[in-house]
């Protein structure tokens, strides 16, 4: 396979590489990232390039690693009229998202109470295998929630209107229709609403270290200072989203034969967006997006209540406003300009986040008001920290940017290299207190199992897509 160098951070696999490729594949990353890239990514992104209706390029971002069907860190824009929708291009955890909450607390105030804070968060917010919801909800209310998402949650007292202003799509996916989700999805969803889950899902107490401000002017406008404490959490649509994905992958696999779509991987099962099956999946996916928005509002509400309890002050007085919430597993209709012509496309983002330039109508208030592009929240490993970026010019990636650091090593391999309890002790010595549902689950998430997040942030900045704003380091973490 020949990888053509387009620029220092853009690489291309021409469409002749594989039979059926309709467009080339583009991979964004520095030479170091490309050289260390999991080779399966090249095969998967070129398989994506065979999907009917794909426009311009199948894109892999610097945090790409192999997934099923699509690589994680994959982006594909489909023509709305003749293109397909593929559940595999969205992922199982539909609308899996990262949310950032600011505080006016300083690292010195939080550090002495980190154990108490993390232990209480662990008690109040269900995590781990079979985490059980403590949210009482009837089936009728649940169906309402699937229609309105974050808006429903705010109406029920989980958060404020201001939270929605700083949430993508204002917390509601308008094309959602719960009539297209299965009873199994509903059963799983009711059981898990307001929980974090396990795997790489977490809630982390973070702060801006010395030198962590990467753009002084913008950080000042947003009120970010060194030593300031934040809360970042990562969760999604839980078993509900997974059930929607499992149900529809099976249905769409069968339907794709009817539409004579040649599949290079069963997980790339796809149907025309303009088909009965495509429409039903899109509406079911929207319901899972709304579940995720509501789930996030509930987790944020619980987090605020824990801070109130520990710091004996109302959350508003603690300055716990939501900075932003952004998803990385979703298909969204976007308006783009292609060859001088405006057109609507369906952008699949799997392990990739939306990133809007400053004058884009979807740029939310928090960034529009200060004249910059939308924020991206880049969750790193629990040992190495995270970044907040803002968008520069994302037109080459259909308004998309990186979502995290991406794994380099399997879970089994990580566990074979470190014991969870040893990792806990080592992190504690470095000032990071972790509470996990299992030692084994903790070992799987060790920092060395992930790509270097600094390299990811640097690569996307070199590509001119996003710019580093702040770096955040962990103080405490709860994991499933």
């Amino acid at each position: 396979m020949e990888l053509k160098k387009i620029s220092n951070v853009v690489w291309e696999i021409e469409k002749g590489y594989k039979e059926g490729m309709l467009v080339p594949a583009r991979i964004i990353g520095t030479e170091e990232i490309i050289n260390n890239l999991d080779k399966e990514v090249f095969e998967q992104i070129t398989n994506v390039a065979t999907l009917p209706g794909i426009l311009e390029y199948a894109i892999a971002l610097p945090d790409a690693h192999s997934g099923y069907g699509f690589p994680i860190g994959g982006v594909a824009a489909m023509d709305l009229e003749r293109g397909v929708i593929s559940p595999g291009g969205i992922g199982f955890d539909i609308n899996c998202s990262v949310r950032l909450i600011r505080t006016n607390l300083r690292v010195d105030e939080v550090k002495p109470r980190i154990k108490e804070l993390v232990d209480t968060l662990f008690e109040e917010i269900p995590v781990g295998v079979g985490a059980k919801s403590d949210v009482k909800i009837s089936k009728a209310e649940f169906l309402e929630m699937l229609k309105y998402g974050g808006k429903w949650a705010v109406e029920k007292g989980f958060g404020t209107e201001k939270d929605l202003d700083n949430t993508e799509l204002k917390g509601t996916f308008e094309d959602a229709d719960p009539r297209f989700v299965s009873q199994k999805a509903i059963d799983r969803g009711i059981a898990e609403l307001g929980t974090i889950g396990s795997g790489n899902h977490y809630l982390e107490i973070q702060y801006i270290p010395e030198g962590g401000i990467k753009d002084e002017e913008v950080a000042k406008k947003l009120g970010f200072e060194e030593g300031q404490v934040f809360v970042m959490f990562h969760t999604g649509s839980r078993g509900f989203g997974h059930q929607v994905a499992s149900d529809y992958i099976e249905k769409i696999l069968s339907a794709s034969k009817k539409y004579r779509i040649k599949l290079y991987d069963r997980e790339l099962a796809a149907v025309p967006f303009n088909s009965k099956e495509g429409e039903e999946y899109y509406k079911a996916m929207g319901s899972a997006v709304n579940y995720s928005f509501a789930n996030h509002q509930i987790v944020m509400h619980k987090t605020r209540k824990v801070f109130e309890k520990i710091f004996k002050s109302e959350w508003e007085k603690l300055g716990m406003e939501q900075v932003f919430a952004i998803a990385h597993n979703r298909a969204t209709i976007e308006e783009i300009e292609l060859n001088g012509k405006k057109m609507k496309v369906l952008v699949h983002r799997k392990g990739a986040t939306a990133a809007y330039p400053k004058d884009h109508p979807r740029n939310p208030k928090i960034t529009k008001n200060i004249g910059i592009g939308s924020l991206a929240l880049i969750g790193g490993s629990m040992e190495t920290g995270s970044y907040v970026l803002y968008t520069l010019d994302s037109s080459s990636t259909f308004f998309s940017t990186v979502h995290g650091s991406g794994r380099t090593m399997s879970r089994a391999k990580a566990k074979s290299q470190i014991n969870g309890k040893d990792l806990f002790e080592s992190m504690l010595k470095r000032g990071i207190y972790v509470k996990s549902a299992s030692w084994s689950g903790l070992a799987e998430e060790a920092g060395f199992a992930y790509k270097n997040i600094d390299m990811i942030a640097e690569a996307i900045e070199k590509a001119g897509i996003s710019k580093r704003l702040i770096k955040l380091l962990p103080l405490g973490n709860i994991k499933g």
Binding site: D93, D187, R188, R407, A437, G480
Partner: protein, 139 residues
Amino acid sequence: MRKFVFAEDEAIADVAIDVEATSLNELFIGCAEALMHLMIENTEEIEDKKEIKIEEKANSYYLLLYKFLNDLIYYKDAYRLIFSRFSVRIDGKKLRATCKGDELGKKYKQIIDVKAVTMHNLYIRRKGKKYFAHFVVDV
């Protein structure tokens, strides 16, 4: 007779599993046992307090396995049930299974939560008298 192993480096973010058995029914049982073992460390201590029955239909064995394993995940999430004893009968395109187990609780050591069985490299093969299955789960 049945046995399973977790494949090291196939699924970087998730887990790949290989199962081998001497019959198709045993193969499905082995897959179910592997799934539970991935989530719970002490599966041998899961008590037989609850019993559920699963019936599925599919045009291929791999789809039947996909449905069966995803049903077990559904029971874990919706009813907090985990299982350690299975009987499976596959008759043509139909599967009938009885699963015995218990509710999740502190006595069971949780490892990681499996959220879905994927179609990625999912297969069932027969070589001579042995049956092989391979599947990847999303965690």
